[in-house]
């Protein structure tokens, strides 16, 4: 069943169709939330809320547009507000319930994964708006058009923001994360 059929059925209250849609997109939504929040538990909470919010407002979704950017725009808003929300407070208190020690220490990660992690650290030093462009374009591999849809800005604005963000990122990397360059200029 294709995505547009699943959406149509979901609008009519078909929860099985909605479950299929969630499964199609849960990884992207969870990862985007994780990149913004840096905490898997918070990311899970925000991902859940994103899908619940999307279900609630599904009628407002323009079926002529791609679905994933619309979902990620909800995630973006929720994640941005999460740290100052009540949910954040209560979720932090809840953490003990679901705490599991992380099996992978930083040493166990591959060199490439460590490099990606360093890039993430570098991106975190940027403004929130610039961070999101980088996450969507490079970490989640969205196109300029999709990124524009998520951030609800024009494609031209995405490009100019991207260009500005990359210059800043280059400076941050040169100053604080030289290992990322590895003989290659970024």
């Amino acid at each position: 069943m294709d995505e547009s059929t699943l959406i149509r059925r979901s609008v009519n209250g078909d929860t099985a169709a909605w479950e299929s849609l969630v499964r199609l997109h849960q990884q992207a939504v969870f990862r985007f939330a994780y990149l913004i929040l840096g905490d898997p538990d918070d990311a899970e909470d925000v991902a859940q809320e994103s899908f619940l919010r999307a279900w609630k407002y599904l009628e407002r979704f323009d079926a002529a547009r791609p679905f994933r950017p619309w979902l990620l725009s909800i995630t973006s808003n929720l994640a941005s507000n999460w740290r100052r929300s009540a949910g954040r407070y209560i979720s932090a208190l809840t953490r003990a319930f679901r705490y599991e020690p992380t099996p992978d220490s930083i040493e166990e990660k591959s060199a490439k994964a460590m490099q990606a992690n360093e890039l993430w650290e570098a991106v975190k030093r940027m403004k929130k708006a610039d961070q999101q462009v980088v996450y969507l374009r490079y970490f989640l591999d969205l196109s300029v058009a999709e990124t524009a849809d998520v951030l609800q800005i024009a494609e031209g604005t995405v490009k100019s923001r991207m260009s500005r963000a990359l210059r800043k990122l280059q400076n941050i990397i040169r100053e604080d994360f030289p290992a990322l360059i590895e003989g290659r200029e970024i």
Partner: protein, 278 residues
Amino acid sequence: MNMTDIENRLHSIASEMEYPPTPDIAEVVVTRLPKFPSHFGRGERGEGHPRLFSRKLAWSLTIMLVLASSLMLIPPARAAIIEFIQIGIVRIFPQPTESTAGIPVTEEPEIFTPPTAAPVAELPSLIPLLDKIAGETKLANTQETAPYPILLPTYPADLGLPDHVYVQDVEGMMTVLVWVDPQQPEGVTMSLHFIPTGHWAINKMGPTVLQETEVNGQRAIWAEGPYPLFMRNGNVEFVRLIEGHVLIWGDGNLTYRLETDLSLEEAVKTAESLAPIR
């Protein structure tokens, strides 16, 4: 290196990012969907008539799910009616096997979510989470934010001012004061919540000891944990574990919740010692 090269390099590095495993979000989301049936019947058919069958079906499924959950949690004899005690916005569901003689209980059908917590023994402390809690502020600023008087315990005499103060907008400003152990700064000795009346409901499930008492002549409940606590506001539910003892009492539109390792008598003294900030 031109912009395209840079972008390619970033793509390449970012593609190696290791993420935590994606949890099964779909499963949880679907169990929560019946709370949002608002758009049923207004889909592509467009007839403008509510699809009552879908709504009925959704409610039926919800009720069946709740009944099934309830039956798993409580003995059959109590499955039809769940008893609870209410103080302010807090509802306490006593353990079925514990005696709560002398405490008048309300009888009302109730919907709740089954606990999904790990066994108590496996739970780590909440203490390291203090620095993650949003809304930390200074005591001096709190009174300006909260639309009710912030009161501080004057008992025990050596308690002093709270070490952490949090104010959170939970459809009303909730204030939490936290005192840490001066000998062990990572250990919390007491917390006091000021919870305004709103859409929040707090359910406690099966505290091991439950006792009715009074604070300033007002009915209060003393509960000893550990036990799961559910907080919800209609479409958001959270669970946490209470490890200490809790005294709960109401005053007008405010519910107070004092979490402490003191005895009941000491906790009541502390509660009755609340006084405005000087």
